[in-house]
């Protein structure tokens, strides 16, 4: 199956990587004491591993090509991949949904508080992902500063609680509204910008918000942050730590369901259709009579509103906020969730979150190699499935006579 050419290629590749990683992986210097440590075994490892990976990928590709050939000749039937249509059938869909619902309902009883905390974090990212999905996935506006609205929500609850003793339930809509307001604030100046210019301006906006929170100490208590934020209350009932975390978990489940419901309805609404049109071609969209300004602003505002609400949940969960939680990396991770999961798809966002948030948590055993693996997974996923894990099926309409 492997030709001589493949082996030669593998050899060249191995040598190339040995050359490439030579200074960083093999040599370690101490510039002060002027000593050098040579780590030659690393070089052999790199060469060997890269050559093996190449050979394996060749075998894999050759098999796939052979199968394609057999399919073409009609010797074998093409097996369908993960087809979403199967899940649409009530026979499959209902028990599956029921099972999932049961699992999430019983989660607090089955797992420890720690697992519950992680799950709450993951659910928060689902909400963030769904919110960003409106902006990036549906309306096609690349936003690299989404975390700014998350920060706005978190700080609005923290500050309102600190100064006025306002509770979670009042802060939740306020956080959402403030998020939307900031979305509009960002939306106005960037209306004329396209594509990547938009990306860098949103990135800058995200940084501005974080820097203001960091430096304007009188307003936000600066880098030391705000602590002792109250967890959500339940009609003034006193709750133990475990109790309140469980309670927060169910609230978060409710929040996710609410978000899914709203986002789903939005996508099928008039404005949702306008977003799709805007994403595909904004000039044609304008020509069809869609008000571009209003549509874009609505996307920014609605997307930001979810981030604001997720921010309120974040503040309530950690009971402490400081600006360091809202860096660009956070925006990048949320964006990765959306793109990796499959742009514009709700199921995709959920799957993306599970992969990107839960995987690193459970990979904690790998300690230092965790982020290395995370970066590699992003690249590999994109190379092999650039459209994301769950690709959206375009809704099609057929006319019946």
């Amino acid at each position: 199956m492997l030709t001589v050419k493949d082996c030669r290629q593998a050899l060249i590749l191995g040598l190339w990587f040995m050359f490439l990683t030579f200074p960083i992986l093999v040599i370690k210097v101490n510039p002060v004491e002027k000593t050098v440590v040579w780590r030659w075994p690393n070089m052999l490892w790199v060469g060997g591993v890269s050559a093996c990976v190449y050979l394996l990928s060749r075998v894999f590709l050759a098999r796939r090509a052979a199968r394609q050939e057999r399919i073409r000749l009609g010797l074998e039937k093409e097996s369908k991949g993960l087809n979403l249509a199967v899940f649409r059938q009530p026979k499959v869909c209902l028990p599956l949904l029921g099972g999932v619902a049961l699992f999430f309902l019983a989660f607090p009883a089955l797992f420890s508080t720690y697992q519950l905390n992680i799950m709450i974090t993951a659910l928060m990212y689902v909400v963030l992902g769904l919110g960003l999905n409106i902006v990036v996935g549906v309306a096609g506006l690349l936003d690299l500063g989404y975390v700014a609205f998350y920060a706005v929500g978190a700080y609005s609850y923290a500050l309102l609680h600190l100064h006025f003793g306002i509770g979670f339930w009042t802060a939740l809509p306020i956080g959402g509204l403030l998020g939307a307001l900031f979305g509009l604030l960002l939306g106005f100046p960037v209306l004329r910008l396209r594509g990547d210019y938009l990306a860098i301006v949103t990135l800058g906006f995200g940084e501005i918000i974080r820097l203001v929170l960091e430096n304007w100490g009188e307003f936000s208590q600066g880098p030391s942050g705000i602590s002792n934020i109250a967890r959500p209350g339940f009609f003034g009932l006193e709750m133990s730590l475990d109790g309140s975390i469980t309670y927060l978990y169910y609230l978060m489940i409710g929040m996710v369901l609410f978000t899914i419901f709203v986002v789903n309805r939005l996508q099928d609404s008039r404005i949702g259709r306008a977003w799709y049109a805007l994403r595909e071609d904004d000039i044609a969209c304008q020509a069809m009579g869609v008000d571009k300004t209003r549509t874009k602003l609505a996307a920014f505002a609605l997307g930001a509103a979810w981030a604001g609400m997720a921010g309120v949940f974040f503040a309530a969960k950690t009971t402490y906020v400081n600006p360091a939680s809202f860096t660009f990396l956070e925006s990048a991770i949320i964006l990765c969730i959306v793109v990796l999961g499959g742009m514009g798809s709700i199921v995709g966002v959920i799957v993306g979150t599970l992969v990107l948030i839960l995987l690193p948590e459970y990979l904690r055993a790998l300690a230092d190699y965790r982020m290395l693996a995370f970066g590699a997974v992003l690249v590999v996923m994109m190379v092999f499935r650039p459209q994301g894990i769950v690709s959206t099926v375009r809704r099609t309409y057929t006319l019946h006579r």
């Binding site: 508080t113 905390n117 100490g217 602590s227 975390i245 950690t318 939680s325």
Partner: protein, 371 residues
């Protein structure tokens, strides 16, 4: 019938197992801090310190007959992870915690420990509010707070360096800015000097010459810097490049050998506050030796503090006979324990009594005590 008998047997077995388990039930102590990522060099020495102390105790038969088990959790110094870490430690049965390392992470974790009635001793979280706000009666630390440190810096700058115009610079971080703000307040209160410049620099920026020019224009005769060694070495380097020779006074984030390596010859003459020099204390020597033997390297930041934390904590559990925070608090406040810093106990707020600061100056490539 048969199944019932098996059931009964099983139950008996389980009960017996439980009974034997309670007899030697280990005392679980959590160790939380940054154990991975770029701040690991601040967290790992503390973890090692706790392990060394606990190994000694277990070799001697544990605390009141019960062995000590360490539950190690990484918080990467991030508040949002620290909250998860704390919940994990609490739910896996930690009765007391040594940690966290960073003040921000500690702040996020403390409410969870407080609600779960778990006592916490940090070797390195120095934000004054942690103890002084009175919100966390379960919190103690084996390091002096930032305001004490700022006081030491300011006193030295005013009394010994006789500075009249002081530029206060910080790195905008939790630690650095907090320290700088205290320094500013103390200078203003003293009435002996004025703060001519109070500014933050952006960590990681490629060039600090603009802010250095600004210091020069302010005609300051001393600089107090709050922050860590990378920024400090960059600012000192650029000051010396611009031929400015005014004294540079900084904190224990700078009093680390890496600073001298980074700044090279520019480090000469820089002042930094740091924990009092305890290298002659027998306990310090003992544990530093053990560390060297195990790791083949010099112990890093906060190692002595963590040894102290582990010693006072285990002593409190042994003397109180329980891990109930109030009972332990009584022991912590009343009984002096021999630690790498000498005999220490705690005041009512949880601050250590007996851990002080010294002022160091870089002389011939080494930190030397000057006061």
């Amino acid at each position: 019938m048969k199944s019932i008998r098996i059931y009964a047997l099983l139950t008996a077995f389980v009960l017996a197992a439980c009974a034997t388990a309670t007899a030697v039930e280990p005392i679980k102590i959590g160790v939380a801090g940054a154990h991975s990522g770029d701040l690991a060099s601040y967290g790992l020495p503390s973890l090692k310190a706790a392990q060394l102390v606990v190994k000694d105790i277990n070799d001697k038969g544990g605390i009141n007959g019960a062995p000590v088990e360490l539950l190690v959790e990484d918080d990467a110094c991030k508040p949002e992870i620290a909250a998860n870490t704390a919940a994990k430690l609490v739910s896996s049965g930690a009765k007391a915690v040594i940690g966290h390392i960073c003040s921000g992470a500690t702040k996020a974790a403390l409410p969870i420990y407080r609600d779960a009635k778990v006592l916490v001793i940090s070797p390195s979280a120095t934000t004054p509010a942690l103890t002084q706000s009175g919100e966390y009666p379960n919190f103690y630390r084996t390091i002096a707070a930032d305001d004490a440190q700022a006081k030491a810096e300011v006193d030295f700058t005013l009394a010994t360096l006789k500075a009249k115009k002081i530029a206060v610079i910080h790195d905008k971080g939790d630690y650095g800015k907090g320290l700088a703000e205290f320094a500013k307040t103390f200078i203003e209160q003293s009435g002996q000097a004025e703060v001519v410049l109070f500014e933050g620099v952006t960590p990681g920026a490629v060039d600090y010459s603009a802010v250095v020019q600004k210091i020069k224009r302010s005609a300051a005769d001393a600089v107090i810097f709050g922050g860590y060694h990378p920024e400090a070495s960059k600012i000192v380097g650029q000051m010396r490049q611009k031929r400015m020779t005014i004294p540079f006074v900084s904190d224990d984030g700078v009093k680390i050998d890496t600073f001298i390596q980074l700044a090279g010859k520019d480090a000469e003459g820089v002042y930094a506050t740091g924990p009092a020099d305890v290298s002659h204390n027998p306990i310090t020597k003992e544990y530093r030796e053990k560390f060297k033997k195990a790791e083949g390297a010099e112990p890093g930041a906060f190692f002595d503090n963590a040894v102290a934390a582990a010693l006072v904590l285990t002593n409190a559990i042994a003397k109180a006979g329980t891990t109930e925070p109030n009972a332990m608090a009584k022991v912590l406040r009343s009984e002096e324990v021999a630690t790498p810093f000498g005999n220490i106990k705690f005041d009512a707020k949880g601050e250590p009594i007996g851990i002080g600061f010294s002022i160091y100056q870089v002389q011939n490539g080494q930190f030397t005590v000057v006061q």
